[in-house]
Structure formats: structure tokens, C-alpha cells
Subunit: 428 residues, 2 copies
């Protein structure tokens, strides 16, 4: 086995929604209240919805720029790589990166569709959710069979509506729904009270994975307004550990042992520590906290129910004895600033090549194929799914970083360390 034999399925990527997102799928009566794209006086393309002006895609769409031109500044479609919002170009970019298939989280609705929760017109908001999902499944994913695992957003303000939408999209071939890692952090009922049980029940029945992306509920705290933004970026993946512990000690996995939760962009190298710590706390404290895992340890429950993933996690991939390698997947994170496009194969191969072939295949694609019930080989033929085969189709794709795409944000121009405060203020 060598790098070109890898088969890469990414369980965490992102789509920048195209301007025509709602053109086909939203009933005419809701057109006036639908999110609409506005180009402001500075040239920024911004979604406006129900009184919200939704901040630009910033660091979320820097792929293909030279690193010195990363930053908060991509604000117009003209400044971002076309593969971020054009599915034909996306497939070319996937081919160039040797990536077979991808789960694409939303951008302007936020990772879990949180921006629709407070909608003043809930009927319209439901229609918007459905139109979004129809666009995602029928246009984005359907454009390239075998290349995308469909992910839907939910009408999070109403659990029964969530159940109905989950069933509707499941019938259309959807395989996962995005849900806040901690719903209580966005004003919704917590996972502890049973409110969401009908949703978990439906997910189990329909075999739909719950995908929770970092930053979709709990936020990574930054230490001060003066702190270099690097410090914040460092802690963002691992900050999902708070939500991971919350799910682990919730009743959810005990009541729904077949439910699957995918923690997107969290990394894996810290998981063994968390699980050891969870077992220690359980054994040491349960007599007074009344925690009860029955026959299991917390670590065993986690390993059974939670899918984790990594971009580049050499330490995690040296710690496989402490992980359930049947529940570890790979992610690309295109087009966010942490992705290593177009060098994903080189990066992951460097981190994984010491492992047995069988474990490499599980981690790079087989675990994702099983958990998301996704069989691209049946559609495309396995021999056409490897890094080598995909890249052979992409020789015409220009992957050279494109400088000078322009922008308005001076944060990366002054030579001093960029602080988290500058970024917080940008979005204030």
C-alpha cells in the first residue's frame, strides 16, 4: 500500500452556499422572507435574514489562497475559490486532493442551522429549512453521485418538526443531520431532560447519524482580547471535549444504545485522556454524584456511540491502543483555514502509514462508509476511488495558490500578532 492507494472519505467539509440557493426549492409565498444575498457598500456579499446580517465567511473560505493572505477578509464570492460554492468545481478540487467523498456542513445558517432558531415566522423558517435540505440533497449532492454524503439541517425550535424533517430527508437518501454539540448553549433544551428523545428515537429508526461540529453550541473561550488568535485556533477542536463529556454523562446513549454521534473537527489525540479521566471520575465520584453506567464504563459507552475524526493527528495515530479505531474517521475541512488542500494525501499518509493496512482503510473510509451507510464503490468502482485514480482525473485543475484576491480587512496587514480581540470585534 502506498499513498496513491489511500481512499479518502471526509466526514467534515463545508459548503459556501451559492447565491441561487433558494431559487428552485422555496415555495413562492416565502420568497419575500427568505434569506437574501446583499452586496454592501464595501463589496461584501452578506446574507440578510429576518433582521440578521450574517457575518461574512472569513477564515471559512480561504482555501487556495497563499497563507499570508488568509484572514478574515474573504467577503465576496469574487474573492473565494469557486470550488467553495460551485459543485462541479468542488468535485474537481476533491479530485485534485484525492478526496473521494465529503460531508458538507452549512455556512450561512451556521454549522447546525442555528441562525434559523429565532426566526419570527416559524412556518417560513420550516420552509427555508426544507428548501435548504432539498437544495443540498437534490442539487449539491446529486450533482456527483458517490461523492457526497447528504447532511440535513433541522428546524431546531421544535422537536416534532425535527422528527418530521429527519424522516422526510431520510426518505430522500440523507444519512446524517447536523445538531448543536450543546443545544443548551444556543437557548434550546439541554440533552439531559428527555425533550430530544423523539429525535434520537427517529435517528435510530432511520439510522441517521447525529453530526455535531465544533463551535455549533459550546464556543472555545478565548483568554483575552489581547490574546493572539493562534492561541484560540489551537484550542478550538479540543473545546468540544466539554460537549463530549456532557453527552457521555447524559442519559442519551444509555436510552439509545444504537444512536451514533459524530464529533466533527474535534481531533482525536486528546480522546484517550478524556476517556481515562471520565472513567476515573466515574469510579471515584459516582457514590455521591449518583452517576450510573450499569455494566459499562464511560469510556466503553463513548467508544460504542461516538465517531471522532482528525485532519492531521500524528499523536492520536500513535495512540491507537487507547482509541476504538472502528470509530475514528478522517476529515479534510475544505475550504476552512485548517485544511491542507491540495496536500491531504501527503499529510494523512505521513501520519498514518505506520499502521496496518486494515486499520488505515477503516480510518480513511471504511468506518465512514459503515456509519453513514454510503457505498461509493457500488457507483464508481473501487478502483476509481483511490487518491491515485482521482488525481489522474484532475491534471487540468490549477492548485497553485492564487494571490491578490483582494479584501477589506487589515487584520493581517499590520505586522503585529493578530489578536482574538480583533476578530471578536469584527463580528460584534
Amino acid at each position: 500500500m502506498d499513498m496513491n492507494d489511500l481512499i479518502l472519505i471526509s466526514v467534515d467539509d463545508h459548503v459556501i452556499e451559492p447565491p441561487n440557493l433558494f431559487d428552485k426549492h422555496l415555495p413562492a409565498k416565502y420568497r419575500d422572507v427568505a434569506p437574501r444575498l446583499v452586496t454592501d457598500e464595501k463589496g461584501a456579499d452578506t446574507w440578510v435574514y429576518d433582521g440578521q446580517v450574517i457575518p461574512n465567511f472569513g477564515l471559512n473560505a480561504v482555501v487556495g489562497r497563499p497563507p499570508e493572505e488568509y484572514g478574515m477578509e474573504p467577503t465576496a464570492y469574487s474573492q473565494i475559490r469557486r470550488g467553495t460554492f460551485d459543485v462541479a468545481k468542488r468535485v474537481e478540487d476533491m479530485n485534485a486532493d484525492g478526496v473521494l467523498a465529503s460531508i458538507c456542513f452549512p455556512t450561512f445558517p451556521h454549522f447546525a442551522g442555528n441562525r434559523l432558531i429565532a426566526s419570527s415566522d416559524k412556518q417560513a423558517a420550516l420552509a427555508i429549512v426544507q428548501a435548504y435540505n432539498d437544495w443540498h440533497i437534490d442539487e449539491w449532492c446529486a450533482a456527483a453521485p458517490g461523492r457526497f454524503i447528504p447532511l440535513a439541517i433541522l428546524p431546531l425550535w421544535d422537536v416534532q418538526a425535527c422528527v418530521a424533517e429527519l424522516k422526510r430527508v431520510a426518505a430522500k437518501g440523507c444519512r446524517t443531520v447536523t445538531f448543536p454539540d450543546n443545544p443548551a448553549a444556543v437557548g434550546l433544551p439541554s440533552i439531559h431532560l428527555g425533550y430530544w428523545d423523539p429525535l434520537w428515537q427517529a435517528a435510530v429508526e432511520e439510522r441517521i447519524v447525529i453530526s455535531s461540529h465544533i463551535g455549533s453550541g459550546n464556543q472555545a473561550p478565548h483568554s483575552s482580547m489581547d490574546s493572539p488568535i493562534d492561541a484560540w485556533i489551537v484550542t478550538m477542536p479540543m473545546a468540544i471535549s466539554g460537549a463530549a463529556a456532557d453527552w457521555l454523562f447524559s442519559p442519551v446513549f444509555k436510552k439509545f444504545p444504537d444512536l451514533r454521534l459524530s464529533l466533527a473537527e474535534g481531533g482525536i489525540g486528546w480522546i484517550p485522556y478524556l476517556l481515562e479521566r471520565a472513567d476515573f471520575v466515574y469510579k471515584h465520584h459516582h457514590a455521591w454524584t449518583n452517576a450510573d453506567f450499569g455494566e459499562l464504563l464511560p469510556s466503553e459507552l463513548f467508544k460504542r456511540n461516538v465517531l471522532t475524526c482528525f485532519i492531521d493527528d500524528q499523536f492520536g495515530l500513535h495512540s491507537t491502543d487507547f482509541l476504538n479505531m472502528d470509530m475514528v474517521a478522517w476529515e479534510c475541512d475544505y475550504p476552512h483555514s485548517d485544511c491542507v488542500w491540495p496536500n491531504s494525501p501527503e499529510t494523512v499518509w505521513g501520519a498514518i502509514k505506520h499502521l496496518p493496512n486494515e486499520m488505515i482503510d477503516k480510518t480513511t473510509h471504511l468506518n465512514a462508509m459503515r456509519e453513514f451507510r454510503f457505498d461509493p464503490f457500488a457507483i464508481l468502482g473501487r478502483e476509481n476511488c483511490t487518491v491515485g485514480a482521482l488525481r489522474a482525473q484532475a491534471r487540468h485543475v490549477n492548485v497553485t495558490p492564487v494571490p491578490g484576491m483582494g479584501g477589506h480587512n487589515p487584520s493581517n496587514r499590520h505586522g503585529n500578532p493578530v489578536t482574538s480581540g480583533e476578530v471578536v470585534k469584527l463580528f460584534a
Copy 2:
């Protein structure tokens, strides 16, 4: 080498301050404004200072209870083990646990003395800080030479006063000062602006280690009021990763390469992930964030400047290739609920016995002796410092858990999972 040959120096324990704390060392003119102990109508012993009623020691003093009687309830001195506040009994408890020496963080002033920051009378507050430190050094630590590494609190509201107090206590034999892991989180200037540089300079000159305890600045967020408290407890140590990243990307260690920071109670198993992530972020993002580590990588800076420690961290101790084992120390955490007193030797031996003897000795005591310039062997003789030798002196110490010490808090009595919300409300 076997368990009885271990020599255990703990870099993180706690003292519950005795009622007579301020009797000897506070000038008479400040007696009226000094913190005073009040027994409330429910029998709780509470420190009252400058308008603050300081919450009880709760989970911080449960050592020696049966686990089902842990909880938030120890509120009176009569309900807590005498070794928490009586130094002669503390030494007996250390002997029974085979612990040679200890760094004791404050309790009622909070881990870094934060409760004094907002004092309305800063002159009185400075006198209180000095009296506290004189009590700690001249009474608590001096009661048992070779058994305690002195740690001082600082007048955090004024960096020049901090420098003066650091120099004063250094001259009295102090080896470390406690400082918030993130001063910005408690309303003080951040570590990024140079404000604290005179303190770092003085610490380097006097070879004083900065000790930052979890929860002394940044707090571990809990996910919801309904969340089981276990989930919160699980994440508390690792939550210092936010502060660790903040220090790492600050100018502090670049300006003061000889400064030493000890992260108390943070654990070690997640450190390799954090450092790999820091290096990735640096390489991947520095072109736009303007981060600059010169000839070093962030991981190299961390390994040079930061002392980490563990209570029981089997995964961390299987990951020694990814840590700087010259900068890992052990901690007991007596009398907090996470400590495994009186079974520390059994616990640490189980986690560490697979390592080479030389590495075991570094981790259990030699690193702490070097970093804190502390030589108990010169005072006590090495042969008297082992687990076996200390326990031989403690055959009369009753370590059987004492049930029925009483209390008022029903949180652990109702049979349902204790939630973080119950605890938050207790302290609201």
C-alpha cells in the same frame, strides 16, 4: 525498585486555613478589616471579608470521608479531617500516604489569592497578603522542615507590589508564587501587554516558579444547568489548555526564557495533542497571524518553560515519547475530592512502574526538587523519604473513612444525578 522505594513530592495540594490564621502576623491596626471566621445559623464556618461572604470549602475538603458522603457539604471545621487545617496532622496524613513533601495552595483567598484583588483598602489588603504569606512560610511550612515547598500569594492589583512581595518572600525561603492561569479572566491586565514583565523579571532573578492552578482564572465551562456534575469535573483539568495556549503564544517565554510556569492539576495526557496542534497552527497560520517563535517551535518553547503534573494519568505515562519528562511532576491534590489519599503510592505505582527507574525518580520528585530548588534529602536523609519509610512512621494514623461527619447540603441525598446547576446555585 518497588512501590515502597518511590519518593513522592506533590506540586499541588491545598491547605484549609485554620481559624487563627491572622492571629500572629497581622499588624494590630488591620485586625478590624482582616478576614474573620463566622459561624452562620446553619453551623457553616465562613470567612467574611470586605463585604464578601466566601463560600464554604465544599468538595475541597472531603478527604477521609466515604465517597458517598462527598459533595458540597463540608462547611464546618468539625466536619473535615483535621489534616486539612492542622499542620501536625497534615504531616501524619502525608506520612500515611507516603508523601514526602507538598506545595499547598490557598483555599479561602482562592487558588491565586483572587479574592483580595477587589479589596477596598489596598494598604490593609497588602498587610493581609503579607500576613498570609508569613503564616504560610513561618508556621505551616516551618512546622516540618523538608516537608513543604513554600508558596506565596501576591497583591495582584499592583505589579510593583507583586515584585516587592515576591522579593520579600523569596528572601524568606519561598520557592513559588501562585498566579491566575489567566489574569484577564479576573479583571487584571492580560499576559500579552508587558504589564507583568517586572514580575517575570523578578521571578527569573529570584528563581521563583509561577504556579497557576486550574480554575484560578479561566473556568471550565459547564454545558448546562441540567448537566451531571461529573461531566464538569471531567473537563476541569483539561480546561487549563486554554490558558496553556495563551501563555504559549504570549511574548512571556520569548522575553523570559528562564521563567518557569507550573500548571497545577491540569493532567498530562492531553499535552502531546495540544503541542502537536500548536505546531500545526504555527506552521499553517503564522504567515497571516504574524506569530513568530524564532528558531523554536511552540512545542519546544512549552517543553522548556512549562512544568506539568498528574495525579493518575496512565495514558500520559504511556506517551512519554511525546512529553518532556524533565518537566513532568506528580501531585496528590490532598484534600480535594480527586485525590486518592491514602492510596497515592498504589495509584501512582500502577501508572508509572513500566517506566525506567530514572524516569520514575524524575517524575515523582527529582524534577520538582530541581525546579523548586528544594532538597529534603539534605534535611531528612534520602533513606527516610521513601514511601516505605514514611508509612512506617504512620502506623498509628487512622486512615479508615469516617462516615457521618454531617452537613447541610442535600445535593447528594436525592438519588438523582447531581447536576452542575445545583452546584452553581449553591455558590450564586
